[in-house]
Symmetry: C3
Subunit: 205 residues, 3 copies
């Protein structure tokens, strides 16, 4: 069980770190800014989760290869010119993967610690969305999660419940993990592609 969770966590970290670094480069930040935004995007949600659940040591302290990997990625993103050609809109795909991975893993950790399904779903949403919200705040964008924009946090919430249902029905955590996170990532990408929103402004703009 450890292996698949660890592998997914690394995928989520890389995906979120890349999404942060693309934004940081688009905002013309220096290497320290690129590393910091990448680190906070990738680690912010999981750190908040570990602090609230009193789950110590915090996961990136236990696995120091994770911050080290982000440090290496930030050197590549800072000095490799081709990165500049990536348009900021491209963050949708790594961001959707990160959202899926961290939502499901955050919810699972809360369950492992004995919390209820509702609390686990809340912590899943926090783990999945907080890193991206910090990234947007620090890059001076209003966090997407607060705008009447394509659905984001609500997908994470529904995905967590889908995961709980699969665990209950299928008796296989590995398959359920995969279903939950693929659901979240795919629905998020579709929501951006087809502009699915919870509410729309009545007035044209």
């Amino acid at each position: 069980m450890f292996d698949i969770v660890y592998l997914l966590e690394m995928i989520g970290i890389i995906a979120f770190a890349i999404s942060g670094m693309i934004v940081a480069r688009a905002k013309n930040m220096d290497p320290v800014g690129v590393f910091t935004i990448g680190f906070i995007t990738a680690m912010g949600g999981g750190t908040l989760r570990d602090l609230i659940l009193d789950n110590h040591p915090v996961y990136w302290i236990q696995h120091q290869e994770m911050p080290l990997l982000i440090l290496l990625l930030s050197v590549v993103f800072s000095y490799w010119n081709r990165v500049d050609r990536i348009r900021a809109a491209r963050i949708v795909i790594p961001d959707a993967i990160g959202l899926g991975v961290f939502s499901i893993l955050g919810a699972q950790l809360a369950l492992d610690l004995g919390h209820s399904l509702f609390i686990a779903a809340l912590l899943g949403v926090m783990t999945g969305t907080f890193g991206g919200a910090l990234r947007d705040t620090m890059c001076n964008e209003v966090p997407q999660i607060f705008r009447k924009d394509q659905i984001y946090a609500s997908i994470s919430f529904v995905g967590c419940w889908l995961y709980f249902l699969c665990v209950w029905l299928l008796d296989s955590q590995a398959i359920s993990l995969t279903i939950g996170l693929v659901f979240i990532a795919v629905v998020r990408i579709l929501a951006v592609r087809f502009d699915i929103r919870l509410q729309r402004d009545a007035s044209p703009h």
Copy 2:
């Protein structure tokens, strides 16, 4: 003793959640934004208090009916049109009640854990003001606490000391709690009504 603290905590949560949701609606946010701002306004101060005091599990994890109640409130506030007619200025009253309840309860918890009166008063102010400061920051307002505006945090600080004095004189925690929080809520409402400030700009504006 548990019952009155629990009841006050629910009143404070509902008051702060409503203050957050009024602002979120005034900013035209979607249902996820309304829930998130309501949740953070109501839970931000207490979560910071619990993390700093190492008081686990964090109170809303122990009482999952609290986030559930905020979820239900946010559905009402998102889809009930009459809410739109509430002017943002109306947040003064629920915000003052939340400030009073959370300041006194935050200070009391710190005392229960064996800290000094000064540390307890500081944590009371943090518990009372942090949720509202987060609400304002995330809704792109400069937190009121940082402007030369009507007194806010200083009322919370004085109210905590009044509460300590009452506990020492009256030997009844329930009466002292009531005196402390009514003092804070009423003085705050009067401060807004009669424009009481600590300092004024010398220049006219």
Copy 3:
């Protein structure tokens, strides 16, 4: 050993609190704003460090003379008119001293708790830079750490490794502490004086 660490911590707190209060006065805040910005600048980094490392009680709860000192300083800064003549640019020196002290002490605490050199250097940088980043965010400035500005966080990172090297070579923690923090403070002041940056914009501005 306790005495020199405690003395350095007090110096760092006073230096960072003053840097925060100068900015708060320049932004025309009232006494509560001056105290809050001073407190958050001085305590933000160490509080984040203690929460992430699960090091309880948080240091300023253990040493209540620290918040008390900031309270007294904020009264002086709020009502002593001569403070207004301090230009905001003057925060460079107290800020550099705070950066040096907190970076080295944060790294040392992480080592004391058994973490690796890399994790200790990361926590040193967080302890040293987070308070100042919060100060800038709350005063509505983009944190300097995210701009292509004079080097800041990278000095803290290099200074932590220099400190580890000195501990290993010199076998005296007191001398190593002094070398590490003087290095950070002096290089930071020189970086501002001679405009040393990691990257520059290609375009003129």
